[in-house]
């Protein structure tokens, strides 16, 4: 293993270990989306009677939400941990090693992606246990996990950017409600074509989170929908590029060593 790869692996391991040693973070990231799924499935299942609703199982329709919501938790975890490293001076300790600065970011995000994958496994397992079947089959599981790693990377990089710019865990946590607004003005609870209010339909159409949800949802309830997947992956890649560019720039400024 090269020096850089070794550094990234070690820092990723630290990121995972640190998160697992904060059970409150892990439990809330796993339970809260499941709780929301249960509430929404109970309260909104009548939607399945709407003409044109794509499935007769609201749980299958709503199962996409925990995946995206879990990725949002990754934003907070990545950002808060990095902000804590800045506040405690741990980032200075890392800066004093010969390590390349970008390894800090890669390591942090590597850990976040690993945890994002773990979350996805749990959400899918719960879905399978309560009777949801993936229309895209076993290959769809692989694509779903790959997609979730990509989305988690994008959100995690935004969290890292916020942490590196502000150096404050509180500032990172204040981002969480903002991201949540994006989730709520998306197609999380109803397909866009069935949204009655025009303004809301327009907002949901302009909201990239809608396409992330629809990509996951397509794998669960439709099978292989090329357009939904292309839009989901395309938007994820753009988000990853934007977030990583911002985070790398913020890292360079923060680690202003010579």
């Amino acid at each position: 293993m090269t020096g850089f790869a070794d550094q990234v692996v070690q820092l990723s391991r630290r990121s995972v270990v640190r998160t697992l040693r904060q059970p409150a973070n892990v439990v809330s990231a796993l339970l809260f989306p499941m709780f929301l799924l249960a509430v929404n499935s109970g309260g909104l299942k009548a939607e399945t009677h709407l003409p044109g609703f794509p499935t007769n199982s609201f749980v299958a329709f709503a199962l996409a939400v925990p995946f995206i919501q879990g990725a949002l938790f990754a934003t907070m975890n990545a950002g808060t941990d990095l902000a804590r490293d800045i506040q405690t001076g741990f980032l200075n300790r890392l800066s004093l090693t010969p390590m390349r600065g970008i390894a800090v970011l890669a390591g942090q995000l590597g850990g976040v992606m690993a945890l994002g994958l773990l979350q996805a496994v749990v959400y899918l397992s719960v879905g399978l246990i309560i009777g949801v079947r993936l229309a895209s089959g076993p290959a769809g599981v692989v694509v779903l996990f790959a997609f979730m790693v990509l989305v988690t990377l994008a959100f995690g990089a935004f969290g890292a950017f916020a942490a590196l710019r502000t150096g404050s865990g509180e500032a990172v946590q204040s981002l969480f409600p903002v991201f949540f607004v994006f989730l709520f003005i998306s197609s999380m609870n109803i397909p866009r074509n069935l949204i009655d209010a025009t303004w809301f339909r327009d907002l949901a159409t302009a909201n990239p989170v809608s396409y992330l949800l629809e990509a996951v949802r397509s794998l669960i309830i439709l099978g292989w929908d090329g357009q939904a997947l292309a839009l989901g992956f395309g938007i994820s890649v753009v988000l990853v590029i934007v977030a990583l560019t911002l985070a790398s720039w913020a890292l360079r400024v923060r680690m202003a060593r010579s």
Binding site: Q22, T88, G89, F90, L91, N92, R93, L96, G167, R254
Partner: protein, 333 residues
């Protein structure tokens, strides 16, 4: 003559909307030397360390550490130095052993060497039993010792310690002093140590630089600096307060009367400590009974007082807000 391990010329750092934290200082620290950088809070000690360790670019001036320029050859500098900064920057959720393994890998030690070196350092700083406990359960002294061990993982030739014993109890402080002395004497490590404790600089340092308001106001061996301010002071308190004036008269014959607290009288002895017996005889001859008598050798605080007109103890309290260490990285943005 060997090239200095640490050398700075006219090194300065100015913060946006802030003071000139370090104001054109010159430094030359020889290989294997323990250099004590003494000053009150906010004097510029940590800013100097941040510049010398490449964490903060200087505003002007130059510095070379281990033979490399801190601005243009940062990576080379970092491979040669170890640093324990003011805040013991540890992850409370990792164990001591995990910290050392992580540090060893980031310092690019071969895999086989990482375990051996970690165990060796844990033993050396007395943390073997606590090695697998999370750091959040460590005492302040244990954290400082782990911090020192982390700075030593890659066997650096130059070690920066920024106020390493602040907040430690006497036992932990003494243990850390012993380890630092051993590193310099046995391993030939150059140590640049900042402190606000007079005793620490006096006991540990081969040479001391005293910094105040970003400027080095005095530099030399502790003994040499104290000799510069001169003679010892005798402090006496009369048993009867009514004898104070007569005591002033007697002591005034032996040297200049200097301020003294708590109803006592103090004089700087012109003849040095050999005057002591004559002072006692003279007081006895004048029938001045003595409640308390003390010969006070010059200290580094006297040096600081002589150079700045203020006592070192408490001098920086009002200035501390001027240089919060956690702002350093932000201020570079």
């Amino acid at each position: 003559m060997n090239e200095p391990a640490i050398q700075a010329e006219q090194l300065a750092r100015e913060f946006k909307k802030g003071p000139r934290a370090v104001d054109a200082i010159d430094l030359a620290v020889a290989p294997g030397e323990i250099y004590g950088f003494l000053g009150p809070n906010g004097a510029g000690k940590s800013t100097t360390v941040h510049m010398l360790t490449t964490l903060l670019p200087p505003t002007s001036g130059t510095a070379r550490v281990g033979g490399f320029d801190v601005v243009h050859e940062g990576p080379q500098v970092r491979t040669r130095i170890g640093a324990a900064l003011q805040e013991a920057a540890l992850d409370p959720l990792l164990t001591g052993r995990e910290h050392l393994r992580l540090q060893a890998s980031l310092q690019a030690l071969p895999k086989a060497e990482r375990v051996r070196r970690s165990n060796e350092l844990l033993t050396r700083v007395g943390l073997t039993e606590a090695a697998d406990r999370k750091v959040r359960g460590y005492s302040g002294g244990m954290k400082r010792r782990l911090d020192l061990a982390l700075a030593l993982v890659h066997s650096p030739r130059i070690l920066f310690l920024d106020e390493p014993t602040t907040g430690l109890d006497v036992q932990s402080r003494t243990a850390l002093w012993e380890e630092v002395s051993r590193l310099a004497k046995d391993d030939g490590v150059t140590v640049f140590l900042t402190t606000q404790y007079l005793e620490e600089a006096d006991v540990l340092a081969d040479r001391v630089g005293i910094i105040d308001h970003g400027r080095i106001v005095a530099e030399g061996t502790p003994a040499g600096l104290k000799a510069e301010v001169g003679r010892p002071t005798i402090e006496a308190t009369p048993a009867d307060a009514g004898d104070t004036d007569r005591m002033v008269g007697v002591l005034g014959r032996f040297g200049e009367i200097v301020p003294c607290a708590d109803g006592g009288v103090a004089a700087r002895l012109e003849g040095g400590e050999s005057d002591l017996a004559d002072v006692v005889r003279a007081l006895d001859a004048e029938h001045v009974r003595i409640d308390h008598l003390q010969l006070h050798q010059p200290s580094l605080d006297d040096v600081f007082l002589a150079k700045t007109g203020r006592s070192l103890e408490g001098a920086g309290d009002e200035e501390e807000a001027a240089e919060p260490a956690s702002r350093l990285a932000m201020d570079t943005a």
